[in-house]
Symmetry: D2
Subunit: 358 residues, 4 copies
C-alpha cells in the first residue's frame, strides 16, 4: 500500500520524488483565520536545507516554498493549504549502476519487492528529500499551537554524546550540528569531517522537547500521544529507535526511582521529576513532552558492499555522489516538524471531544 | 479524544474497564473462510492471564473468551468478530483514597485533566486489563498470517540482561518470565521476588521477532511497517521505548558496519546481517522483523509517594492491593499480539494495492 | 471488505447477526460528563422493536440494551461505550431452502459472491436486525446534540402519500406508521394489512427533519453534511434513494424559484424558503436539515420467484416466516438515529477545527 | 472541519480555489505498473472544460493537467500521483458586491458562518471549479478498473426528460448536453438558450451506469457500495438527490414487481430485471451499477434576490459574470469520475479482504 497522509483531524498529505519536478504537502483541517505566508514557512525549510556546509550533502536546493491554496488576504481560510517546492538541482548523473543493483541499507530492494520496479533516481520517493514537505507542513502546524515551544537538538554523534552539565539551549543554532554543548560540537567537527573524507557515515541521536503542552492532550487507547509520537518519529528516514522520557533507562529503574512525585502548584501540580517525558496513560501531563530518536548512519557510503542485482546475481555497489555524512543532523528539523504535527493534531482532537460548548 | 480502533483494513476496536462487567474487542476486515473457535484464542489469553504464579498480580481472572459474531459453522464469515471476556474478580475494595488523590506514574491525573473526572476503580479504562482484548484480537490476526511465526520473550529485567550466547528458544515457555536464557531466568526469580516482597517493582525489556514475513509489506510514507510497529508497541501500557533492529546501537555504528550486505539466494537475497531488523524504507525485506520494547517498572508501589489530591492539596499515596511486580512479563504476550495485528493489517494493505488481478 | 465503523470523530462500530447470541455497538469519541443510562436508550429501541402490532414482523424481541462500558456513576467517561442487545427469539426453523438457493432482492447472492459462503440464518449480518445497534448508538448521539430536535415520519406507503395540508406532528406517535396525517394513516391500515395477508410487501418514503442545527456544521469537500447524510441513509437496509431539501423536484425549478432568499433576523438571517434543506456548499445554514429516504418493498414475499441455487441450477424460492410487510415503517427510527449520528459527529468535527480556544 | 480526502484505500486529496494560481489532486494508493501519462487524463478534462459552447460558462480555461509525481518511465510507481491544473482565466473583476453580501443558494453565508470569513473570488473553494481535480483523479481511477465501462448522460433538463425508447448511446457525444436522445437534445437547445439569455438557470438529472462490475464489490455495513456512491454523488456541487436503480420509483412497487428474478447463466446468474441497480446488501451483483443524480438549477442568476450583507443588513444581489445556465451538463463528467473513484476504491478494498493468496 501507499499511505501518504499523516494525522487524524489536522492532516498532511505529501507527494514528490527526489528527482521529479517538484514535491509538496497538502495541509488539511487547519483552523481558519491564522496569519500565514511563505515567510512563516521558509525559515524552517532553510534550517533543513542541503548544501549549507560541508557536513551535509552538497546538493544545492533553494527549497523555496509556494503557498498555492488555502490562504486569502494573508490568513488561512480553513480549506486545504497546498505547499509546493520545486526541485532545482536534480544533477544529471549516471544512474545505470543503481538502476541495476540494490544498495544495501537503502529501500531499493524492498521497493522492487513491493512494487515490481522503482524510480531509482536519487531513491525516488524513498529519498529523505520528502522530509522537506514535512518541514513545510510542520511550519503550518506550529501556528496551530502558538503557546508550545519545540526544541530539537543533537545529543550524540557516532557514539560521542553531549555533557548534560554543559547544556546551553543558546548554543543550538551556533554550530552546524544543532548541538547544545559547545565542546561536543567542536569534537563533532572533526568526527563528521573524517567520516565525510573517508566516504563513510555516522549515526546520531536527536532529542526533542515540547514546552507548554497543557495536560489533557492524547487519545487513548490507540491514538495515545506517545504512540503517535513514536510512529511519527520512526517513520522519518533512517530512524531506528524512539524513546519517551527516560525510555530504555526507565526499564532499569525501580518503581520508587521512576515515580514522578507531585506537589501543589499555582496552576496544576508541580512535578518533582519527569521520567515519564510528559505523558501518562497516553495523555499529556503538563510537563515538557520529551522524545529521543536514533538515526542510523547514512547508508550511502563509498566503500563497496556486496549485493545482488535485479536479476538476482551477485554484484558489488558503492554509492557515489552527494550525501550527508550524518543524516541525523538534517533530520533534526524534521523531528521538530513531526512533533509540531502530532501536537497540533492532538490539540484539535482533544477539542473535538472535550472542547467547551460555545 | 478517545480513539479505540487500531489498524487500517484489519481493524480492532476494544472496549471495557478494569472493574466493569466485561471487556472486549471487535475485529473487522478479517478474511472469510478461516477456521476460528474460542479454542484458537484461549491459549494466548491463558499466556497473559493474571494470577498464575507469584510473579504476577494475584487477581484471579479465567479470561474465558466468547465469540459473539462473525463466525458461522466454524469459519470466519468476513463480518465483524465480536470477542467478549467477562470480568470475574473485581474484588470489592476501598477506592476512596485513589478516588481522591492521584497515583504518580499512573494515568490518574492525566485522565482527570482531560475528561474532568475518571473511573478510578482499578484504573478504569487505563488499566492494563484492556490488553486482554488485544491478545484475543491478536489471536485472530495470527490466522491471517499463518506462515509467520512470532517469538516474544524478555531479554532484561531490572537491568539484568540475558546472555545472547545462551539463547534457547525452547526455554521461553519453561519459566514464568518468557526468558530464553535459563540462567537469567534463575537470577530473575530472586530479583522479582525481592521486589514483590518489598512492594517495589522492576522494569523489563521485551524482544519480539517475526519470522516468515515476505519482502514487500509496509506502506510508505506514513504507514511504514516500522512506524506502525513503533506506534503499536509504544501504545502498550507502561512502554517507554521501541527499537527496530539494532535501534539505538545503530546510531553508534559506521555506515560500513551497519550495511546489511546481500548475496544471491534461492528465493530472494541472502542477507549477511540484519541490523535493519527486517525493514528498509518502511517495507519488509524478507528478513526477520525484530523489535525491542522497554517497559517501565510498575507504577503501583507500596512506598508512599508525594502527590496532590483532586482539590490540588498536598497528599501522600501508596498503592495497596494486587499488582504485577514487573509488568513487562505479562506485557510479553501483548507485544506479540500487537506484532500479529500490525503484520496481518499490512499483509491485507499490500494485497489491496499490489495483489494479483484475479 | 468489511467496514463496520461509522463516523469520523464520533464513531460507532456495530457487530452481530440476526441469529447469533447478541448484537451490539461500540460508541467511541463521545464527550465525557453526559448523563447516560439504559433508560436513555431503551425508548428509542422500543420504537423500532419488532412484534408490536400486525404491521410489523411477529418476531418477539425485547431488545433490552445493556451498557457494558464507558459510563461511571451515571455519566459518560469519554471512553468507548459498549452497548449490547441479546437475541432472544431466534426461532429454530428450517433454513435448508434458503441455505441452498438465493432469495432475489436479498443480499444472499452478493454475499456468496463476495465471501464464498454466508450465514444464511435470517440473513446473517445483512439482516435489518443490525439496525437495532444503530438505534442504540443514535440514542447516545442525541445526548451530544441536546439542542437539536429530530422528527422522522412516513410520508408515503405504496405510492399513497400524505396530504401536506394535514400535517400534524402530534399525530406521528398516534398510529403504527409514524404518519403525521391521520387520514393517510387510516388508509394505510387497509393497504398494509392487505399486503400482509397476501404475503406481499410495500415500499415507503420516510422524511426526517432536524431542527436547531446551527449554521456552520459540515466538512467540505469530501465530508459535506449532505454527502454524509446521503451515505448514512443509503446504507440503511432497503433504502434506494435519498433527497436533501427539494431533491429531485429542485431539478425542475428555475434558479429564481429555487433561490432561498434571506432577510435580516435577530439571530442570523431569516430565510424565505428552504429548498436547500438547510445545507449549502455542504455546510448547514441554520435552517432545518431535511432529508427524504425511499425504502423499497420488503424482498421477503410469499409468491415464488425464479432464482438459482448455490450450484447455479434453476430454482424457485418463496420466503416463509415472519417479515415486515413494509420495512419503511420500522426503518423510520433508524433514519432518525442515522441523522443523530451524522449531526453529532459533525458538531464535534466542527469544534475540532473552528472551536473556541479555551 | 475541512475534509478534502476521498476514498479508503485508493484516496484522492484535492486542493485549490476558483481564483488561486492552480488546483490539483493527489491520488494515493494506486497500483503500480499502470501506463499513465497526461494524455490519459486530458480527454476527460476536455469533456468537462468550460467555454466550449454557449451552453456553458464562457470562462476560458485550457485545463491542461501536469503529472508531477508518481510516474516513472510512463508507469505508475505505486507512490502518490500529484496532478496540477493551472488557473489561467481568473478574469479580474469587481468582487466588492459579493464580498459584502451573500448570494442565496450559494455557500457564501454558510462558509462565513463556519470559518468567520471566506475567499469570495468566484466562490473560492466552494466553486465547482474544484471538480476539475476530481475528473483528473477519476481518469487515474479508470486505469484501475480497465474492464469497467462507465456511461454518464443527461436524462432530463428543466423537467423535460428523454424518451427511453429513443435511447441511443451513440448520440451522447454528438450534442452539447451529453444527451442520448437526439430529439430531446434538440428541444434542450432551445430551453437552455432561453434560460441563458434570460439570465436564468435550469436543473438537470444525470444518469450514470457502470458496466462490467463483477459481483462482490462493496463493504458492508458502513461502506456499502450504494452508500459510498450516494455520498460521492451528493458531494458534487449542486446535487440534491441520488437514486440507485429504481430509486424513488421502487417505493411504489410491490415486492413481486421489485424482485429481480434470476436464472442460470454461463457466468453467474442472468437477472430478469435490475430494479436494484446492480447492488444488493451493499454489494455488487454483477449487473450494471446504475445511479441517477439530480442537479439543482445554477444559483447564479441575473434576477436580483433579497439577501443580507455581512453586517446582517438587508441587501439585494444579482450575480453578474460568466456562469453555466445548467450546471448539470458539465456535472456529467464529474458524476462519471466519482463513479470511477468509488468503484476503483472498492475493487482494491475487496481485494484486501478477499483477494487470492499468492
Amino acid at each position: 500500500m501507499s499511505w501518504n497522509t499523516f494525522g487524524r483531524v489536522l492532516r498532511m498529505t505529501t507527494w514528490g520524488e527526489s528527482h521529479g519536478p517538484a514535491l509538496g504537502a497538502i495541509v488539511d483541517g487547519c483552523p481558519p483565520g491564522l496569519a500565514l505566508s511563505e515567510a512563516d514557512i521558509q525559515p524552517w525549510l532553510d534550517a533543513r536545507r542541503p548544501g549549507q556546509n560541508k557536513f551535509t550533502t552538497q546538493r544545492q536546493e533553494p527549497d523555496a516554498v509556494r503557498v498555492l491554496s488555502g490562504v486569502f488576504e494573508g490568513k488561512t481560510t480553513g480549506t486545504p493549504i497546498s505547499l509546493m517546492i520545486e526541485n532545482v538541482d536534480q544533477r544529471s548523473k549516471d544512474y545505470s549502476e543503481v538502476a541495476k543493483a540494490y544498495r544495501p541499507g537503502h529501500a531499493d530492494y524492498a521497493y522492487d519487492a513491493k512494487y515490481g520496479f522503482r524510480d531509482y533516481r536519487g531513491g525516488g520517493r524513498s529519498s529523505a528529500r520528502e522530509t522537506a514537505a514535512r518541514v513545510a507542513a510542520g511550519a503550518v502546524a506550529r501556528l496551530v499551537i502558538p503557546d508550545v515551544r519545540i526544541d530539537a537538538y543533537v545529543v550524540e554523534i557516532g557514539g560521542d554524546g553531549i555533557d548534560r552539565a554543559s547544556f546551553d539551549a543558546g548554543e543550538i543554532g551556533n554550530n552546524p550540528f544543532w548541538c547544545p554543548d559547545r565542546a561536543a560540537a567542536e569534537r563533532w567537527v572533526k568526527a563528521v569531517d573524517e567520516a565525510r573524507l573517508a566516504g563513510s557515515s555516522l549515526g546520531a541521536v536527536v532529542e526533542c522537547v515540547a514546552h507548554g503542552v497543557p495536560a489533557g492532550w492524547g487519545a487513548p487507547i490507540y491514538a495515545k500521544l506517545d504512540a503517535d509520537l513514536a510512529g511519527a518519529m520512526m517513520g522519518i528516514n533512517a530512524v531506528k529507535a524512539v524513546e519517551i522520557g527516560d525510555g530504555f533507562a526507565a526499564a532499569r529503574l525501580t518503581g520508587e526511582q521512576n515515580a514522578d512525585a507531585m506537589r501543589p502548584g499555582g496552576d496544576g501540580p508541580i512535578f518533582e521529576a519527569n521520567h515519564a517525558g510528559g505523558i501518562a496513560g497516553g495523555i499529556s501531563t503538563g510537563q515538557p513532552v520529551a522524545v529521543r530518536v536514533a538515526f542510523k548512519p547514512t547508508s550511502s557510503i563509498l566503500t563497496p558492499v556486496e549485493t545482488i542485482d535485479r536479476d538476482g546475481n551477485a554484484a558489488e555497489i558503492r554509492t557515489k555522489g552527494r550525501h550527508d555524512p550524518c543524516v541525523g543532523i538534517r533530520g533534526t528539523p524534521v523531528v521538530a516538524a513531526m512533533m509540531a504535527l502530532v501536537l497540533a493534531d492532538h490539540k484539535l482532537l482533544h477539542r473535538a471531544q472535550c472542547g467547551p460548548e460555545r
